[in-house]
Amino acid sequence: MSIQKIDNVTRRNFIGGVFSASALVIAADLLPQAAWADTAEYHGKAASAALKPSLYLGLEPDGTVYIVTHRSEMGTGIRTTLPLIAADEMEADWSKVKIEQAIGDATYGDQNTDGSKSIRGFFVPFRQAGAAARLMLTQAAAAQWKVPVSECSAMNHEVTHQPSGKKLGYGALAVAAGKLPAPKPEDLKLKSRSEWRYIGHNAKDPKSIADLKDITSGKAIFGMDAKVPNMVYASVERPPVMGGKVQSFDDKAALQVKGVSQTVSIPPFQAPYTFQPLGGVAVVANSTWAAFQGRKQLKVEWNNGEHASHDSERYKAELLDTAKKPGKVVRNVGDVDAAFAKGGKIVEASYYVPLLAHATMEPPVAIAEFKNGKVEAWVPTQNPQAVQDTVAKALGIKVEDVTCHVTLLGGGFGRKSKPDYVAEAALISKSVGKPVKVVWTREDDIKFDYYHAVAGMYHKASMDDKGKVTGWLHRSVFPSISSMNDEKALYGFNVEYGMGLNDMPFDIPNHRAENGPAKAHVRIGWLRSVANIYHVFSGLSFADELAHAAGRDSLEYQLELLGSGKILDLKPQLNGQEYWNYGEKIEQYPFDTRRLRKVLEIAGEKSGWGKRKPGNGWGMGVAFARSFTSYVASVVEVEVDKAGKIRIPKTYMVVDAGTVVNPERAVSQFEGAAAFGASIALTGEISLADGRVRQSNFHDYPVARINQAPIQTDVHIVESEELPGGIGEPGVPPFVPAFANAVFAATGKRVRELPFSKAKLV
């Protein structure tokens, strides 16, 4: 990722009108980001645009630096971390930096805050933008003093002429610098690591998150809190079965409710479901409460359609059965069948992970106003450009006629990349002629999610008499995210394969990974760490099973499985498929198992692995994963009491994420990932009967509370000068199997089906 061109666009009109005409503004154009998912509707959009300034950095004559974050804040700290990069390179005084949230616009480049790629994608462009500003300011000062640029240096918001000690502040130089031609990228001198003041481990004081004070005082504006004049509220009754349609409805009683003004029909989606609304009937009122009350009085007859007989128990049996049969080969090394035929010890096991809901703390919510053929929306969204596209399509208007303002997000985890809820608001607004806020209840959120896929997995391995694995077969069956764009999809695609199925890093002479067919009966989406959740859970649980079968220590055994460490060459093994590599070039982000060995070894040291004998309700488990180009090992310590209640006193996360811009926020993401993983493992399950989701709120879809999440998570970030890797997601995959392995160590019970709450541990 690099800047193709740096454009000094001082006099250009700015999107959002953030800067005054005299401001010095740097626009960095960059190469298109890889689309999150190959089959996603939005693939190729960034690639088809000719010029994509991804970020804007402006300096006003009063010395204020505006840094525009085009990525969404959902808790990762990105609104702080991205600006830190540019500010550091610019030698800006952090206290003079103001952060502006970008609206959705393709000219910013990729805005889909997903796939743990904000820093991977924009580290260099933000550095270059800052460096360009610094250079132009230095040049402007030199010109004013009539001295060589080489005699001047910029530091902490001012330029100094070294020989004379003369100084000029950035603000005073802004106008003159803005008149200079923009430097070519190759003329930029980026700071050396030792010169970084805000980036990385040598940052003196970790910066508070940008919105801290607003959050703790209740002033922060999340989507749920946004308000526009004349706004009305809506609550939508949606088809209980995916793909269902309204047959008829009776809104008489609903209209009797005080505050309710009207009802609006929302058409069902045209298959495939993509990001379209599910359809249904909206109740419009003058307050949220009135809308909720009115909706309760609606009587709707549904035509449920083809998924009305879907049943999770039956489906589970089908998935596990399919996983026992040969599937599509997605990776092959050596000859597994021959290895199995040779005999030795054979171990096999099936694993199951149910559907999961995102359950962001803030349920989906959106405000949209349709006026004069255009839509303006205020949304907690991870993907404002998808909002533009989806709303435009739903209303038959042009993409550029949709303006999407991005609020803070009360959690995202992938749910808020899918803007079905915004299209609802826009459609209703068009019908009522007023701005409309659609508020999803928690029940709506749990029942109408884009669920994390349910998966059945089968593993089989052979080992020789020394316990060395000679062959390993891994089969995975799950309804694919590609069902979003193709309702007939039965198989996964390389994004799902590339998350723990076709890139299992074990150094085994005979290995085969297969994917079996499964049809989707609910909307499938991506959830924090995606297919890694089921692939890594099953793969690393099975590795632990093998260690026990071989009578070996699990950590030692996992290291042995990794081999001495090397850069993997997966390409020739993938049956002609492209290795996804999280959208990154393999030369830039090779898969290096030495880095996995290292995090595992450190995790062993930090956790005191092997020092205490497990059993009697106490145990430790270990697992690792490379995901989103970062390398993470987790050690989880558990206590299981006589009633089978699990407590996690301590978790260790060792992380090699390459260069880490904001270690303090990275630590918080791994703390959070441990809690997120605990929710998945302990209680996460969505199930359906008669095509309807059974769960509805936190009583039957519980997430980890303060006494269920790890009491203490110690995060160790490996110092590294490698390219930055993902931070938001990579903590989740290894945590779940490490937890399961710990439960086994403590109780002797192998939990192969999530959630643990369904297992009998005592």
Binding site: T76, G218, F698, I706
Partner: protein, 151 residues
């Protein structure tokens, strides 16, 4: 007509007495610091104080706050500098931040009753408040810091 005090100010309400306090605060008074998380008393995002006690405003009807004094996050401290808010800042607790006002209000009620809560007291006192982002260990630490400052 229901009369109540919100953050020290007299208010009167003549709408549906069955409406939860949450929606009165959010939609009518535009005090959006109190959050909607579940609407069912399960997550704590909507926590406010009624006569000093933590309650879930999503499950408290307007008729049940008649004559009562309600404190919301907006009224916890004049400048957002309650010892808990300061401790929250010091520990950089929030991730997305959505649950945090409810967490702080719950913690404030806890500390009012229990000046020196043990780990177990904190766990018991805060178990009704969900943080989907998983900031729990910092919440624990921040409550301890604030307790020390308030002692």
């Amino acid at each position: 007509m229901i009369k109540l005090k919100v953050n020290g100010r007299e208010r009167s309400f003549d709408g549906d007495p069955e409406m939860p306090l949450l929606w009165y605060l959010r939609d009518e008074l535009a005090m959006t610091g109190t959050k909607f998380g579940c609407g069912a008393g399960l997550c704590g995002a909507c926590t406010v104080h009624r006569n000093g006690e933590a309650i879930r405003s999503c499950s408290t009807k307007m008729k049940d706050v008649a004559g009562k004094a309600i404190t919301t996050i907006e009224g916890l401290s004049p400048n957002g500098d309650h010892p808990l808010q300061k401790a929250w800042a010091q520990a950089n607790v929030p991730q997305c931040g959505y649950c945090q006002t409810g967490q702080i209000m719950q913690a404030a009620a806890l500390l009012k009753k229990n000046k020196k809560p043990s780990d177990k007291d904190i766990e018991d006192g805060m178990a009704g408040n969900i943080c989907r982002c998983g900031t729990y260990q910092r919440i624990r630490a921040a409550i301890k810091t604030a307790a020390k400052e308030m002692a």
